[in-house]
Amino acid sequence: MQTVRRRKLEIIVEAPVLSRVEAILKSEGVRGWSVFAGVEGHGATGDWHSEGLSGAEEKRLIFALTSNDAADRVLEKLVAFFEDYPGVVCVSDVDVMRPDRF
């Protein structure tokens, strides 16, 4: 199978600011992504659980396949963003088909 190397961004952010991160992805040329909802987690600031009352601490996972360059530009922007807001991000190598899509 003919595949091409691309980058996968995985970003965890709080639900109330999800749209702000999506705006960064769009502005840096990421052409597609999918969002998943977490149910709980643990980090430097303690535990959280999705609970339906305040929802303020709920987390979302953004999963985005993109080019090396776009991934780099997004990371650059996220450094500043994560100074203000909690969350984590990682990038890794993946093989994709139809590379022109990403």
Partner: protein, 324 residues
């Protein structure tokens, strides 16, 4: 006041409040009892729809009188100034950092719709004739505190300029405000004709849904308390005494602005209540460095149970004594 005490006991013994206690108990013992998120959100929507609609129908019966404007103005002023008092208490006594103090203050300036629901059930049982328009006052009191908090937080607010416009829109169009106001308007517009259609849905069903919702609130409050990492004695004392201060401020201002006593009882309950739905989400956006482990534990874990179990009959008794 032995009568007030027996009324308080009566209040403690409604099924809804006892289901809250059951949730608290199960949560503290780490039972795996849990209400799905989606259900909790939906029950909350139902409560706001029912509360708003009933208030609107009642308001359509009575018409919008000067009483409404007095109560509304008092509520808005309280929501603006309570955070200032809360902020200085948290800074000086509890020695909280500026940002967390401001965010917490916003919670105490805003209101809790469920405390309102439980409080008005209590007042209805007592025959206190408050106005249906008080639902609109709830909506008016939800957001001003957020603005005060942003001013108090000063330069620490996140996202700088760009976000400000967005934030204002998000706060004003907050789902609970829109649903409460919208349902109020629908109730006011459709009046008795509308009530004929939704009567069963918003009246006899209400107590049952409230019981299930309070069961969940008990579970959530218990988890907050169990996982609280940053609690200190001054913070706990703040969460127990701030409602009393707010109640006092509310009574004073109600007297000053000529709010009628029945409405003043509702206002005292609202002033003493703290938000845990609308304000936390706004604070995650505007003041992300503020610690939710503080503000949610205080509002949801301490102040809410305190108001539900002790505060409501107490505030009513005080208002009745002071304002007649």
């Amino acid at each position: 006041m032995p009568e007030a005490l027996s009324l308080a006991a009566n209040n403690l013994l409604t099924p809804a409040v006892l289901f809250f206690a059951l949730g608290l108990f199960a949560g503290l013992l780490r039972s795996d009892l849990a209400v799905p998120d989606a259900a909790a959100k939906t029950l909350a929507l139902y409560l706001m729809l029912a509360i708003g609609f009933k208030g609107g129908v009642e308001a359509s019966r009575a018409g919008l009188t000067a009483d409404f404007f007095n109560a509304g103005a008092t509520g808005v002023i309280l929501s603006f100034i309570i955070p200032v008092v809360a902020f200085y208490a948290l800074r000086s006594v509890a020695r909280l950092d500026r940002t967390t103090a401001a965010a917490t203050a916003a919670h105490y300036g805003s209101v809790s719709v469920v405390t309102f629901a439980a409080g008005t059930e209590y007042l209805r049982a007592l025959g206190v004739p408050f106005g249906g328009y008080m639902v609109a006052v709830v909506a008016l009191m939800e957001t001003p505190a957020i603005l005060t908090a942003l001013l108090l937080a000063g330069g620490d607010a996140a996202g700088k300029q760009g976000l400000r416009g967005n934030l204002l829109r998000e706060v004003l169009l907050n789902g609970s405000v829109v649903l409460l106001v919208g349902s109020f308007v629908i109730g006011a517009v459709t009046g008795e004709r509308g009530m004929a259609k939704l009567d069963l849905f918003v009246n006899p069903l209400f107590q049952g849904v409230l019981a299930l919702f309070l069961l969940d609130m008990g579970l959530v409050a218990a988890r907050r308390l169990r996982e609280a990492k940053t609690m200190t004695v001054p913070l706990v004392l703040f969460a127990l005494s701030m409602p009393l201060v707010s109640c006092a401020m509310s009574i004073a201002l109600s007297a000053l602005l000529g709010v009628k006593p029945a409405d003043a009882a509702v206002l005292a309950i609202l002033a003493a209540s703290a938000s845990y739905i609308a304000v936390p989400a706004a604070m995650r956006i505007a003041l992300p460095k503020a610690d939710p482990g503080v503000y949610l534990t205080l509002s949801l874990g301490i102040t809410f149970p305190f108001n539900l179990l002790i505060g409501i009959p107490l505030y009513q008794a005080v208002v009745a004594t002071v304002l007649g």
